[in-house]
């Protein structure tokens, strides 16, 4: 069971999230129609692990790009205009492009891994959270904890509180 609380004002929503966190409710989700830095700070989200994927992609891309140029030149040796068979200046251009290509693809992969998307199974969600409302979701099965969470949320100025089943 999850408590789903709707707020009309951003400041109330942030206040509720802070109060819940400080009261020991760690399993909360904060839904908003736009990115809010304060909400991310409440949850302690700082540097995203996505950056590791980007770096790994860039390094692998550079290595792959350069290796591809060298390997294909050595498989079929084609001397042209007295140029070197393994021509570093030319190959750096391809290496550069492959660095970016794999960097972008790995960042995309990292985004999916870190954010947990795609996620098509049912999770507590209100359509208004994508329009103009701010929603706090608290997972709680314990009656006493539920009552405490509801008190905090109501005290912060929630517009509406509902309960939803969680899979």
């Amino acid at each position: 069971m999850a408590i789903v609380a709707t707020f009309a004002y951003e400041e109330d929503f942030i206040a509720a999230a802070k109060d819940l966190k400080s009261s020991g409710f760690d399993d909360i989700s904060l839904l908003s129609p736009l990115p809010l830095e304060e909400a991310q700070e409440v949850l302690g989200l700082e540097k995203s692990p996505v950056r590791h994927f980007s770096l790994a992609g860039a390094i692998i891309g550079a290595a792959f790009g350069f290796a591809m140029c060298v390997a294909t030149a050595l498989v079929f040796i084609l001397p042209t205009g007295g140029r070197a068979i393994i021509a570093l200046p030319s190959y750096l251009v391809i290496t550069y492009e492959m660095t970016i290509l794999l960097g972008v693809l790995f960042t995309l992969f990292g985004f999916h891994i870190v954010s947990g998307l795609p996620a098509w199974h049912d999770k507590p969600y209100l359509e208004s959270a994508n329009i103009d409302r701010f929603v706090v979701v608290v997972d709680s099965t314990d009656g006493e904890r539920t009552a405490r969470a509801e008190a905090i949320i109501r005290g912060a100025g929630a517009e509406e509180i509902t309960h939803m089943e969680v899979e």
Partner: protein
Amino acid sequence: MFDHGQPSYADVNKDVLSTMLETGPRYWMLLGTTISIAVICFFMPWLYQLFVGIGAAGMNRNAVWGTYISNFIFWIGLSHSGTLLSAVLHITNSHWRKSIYRSAEAMTLFSLMTAALFIMVHVGRVWFVHWTFPIPNPMGLWPNFRSPLMFDVMAITTYLTASSIFIYMGSVPDFAAVRDASTGLRRRLYTIFSFGWRGTAREWHTLGWAYTFFAVFVIPLAVSVHSIVSWDFALSIVPGLHHTIFAPYFVCGAIYSGTAGIVTVMYCLRKFLGFEKYIGQVHLDNLGKLLITLSLIWSYINILELFSTWFGGTSFEIEALKFRLTGFYAPLYWEMITFCAFVPLLMLWKKFRLSWNKMLVISILINIGMLTERCIMVATSLPRKFLPDAFGFYLPSWVEISITVGSFAIFATLFLIFIKWVPAVSIYEVKETLKPLRRDS
């Protein structure tokens, strides 16, 4: 930032989504017209060229490149609009970009697609185009990565992939908004498109980081793409093309024409989709200032090109320069200078910069000038290399002119389809520019 008062969050959803979900007969008529022009002017002449051979184009032994290549450069240039507005202004935290960047990114993607089509048309035997990719084949041959043309293939493929991902990922929260506002098949489709987005703090946080990294990757990529396109020319020893200034010249010209293209597209979005509330004077003013700066840089590089050729004093280069300034194509050269160096100076006056109609005319003139620049670059250099007895001449054939006209219809068609599938103005980023509703307000 908003000319007509600040809208509420709900207004933003309603205004933007209504342009997607409500379609009148005017839209279908416009789409039908652009598709018809694209088929008649682009695909039918291309089919004709495929049947009779590449000789249908005006290219010949001396002029192995023609308007297909000029158009290719022009469209790649237009594609730099999205990168500039979306990535550079995102990194520099410029808030005014937020309501116009989505369409600029779409311009990037569709310009690139149109540019790629010109390569297909130019190569003649399009069914062999896969030979340019490093994929195993029965002949055991691999592409020659020392060739600037292969740099092009890799750069454009990377740019197309990165731009597609960039625009898609930035649209995911808005796809969720479309999902919530629709029913039936559309709802099911957008559930897939939005990956089940709920707008949790973790999702926003991850998207923010990923988007910044995409931007960081895309900026140097865009610079490299047009530099590489310039090396197609500059790495040859053809007089008029063998200049070290070409890479920055191309990149500057690309951003210049792309920004002018954005003004044209913004005008259409305001006029036909009713985005007056979100695209206002502040955008026009900032775009105008950007255009003046780019125009001055572009003019400076042109003067530098003339000076370095004159100062170098090589007879071949001087001959190429004379032909460009006074030869058959001279009227086009001076038209380019007028449209790209002098006309934009009108924007120094605020009354020009803040008038949508005047800015529309200026932006179109700039892009006519930029298309001309690419045409004369090809037509005045390649056919006239070193020895006068080997000089040739190039004039585009009707097939090339028709395909050029048709390419604009292809771009318009893709854009018209886009505005019905993707919110043309970023919903969540516009909300970021609004003052949050406070209990005491």
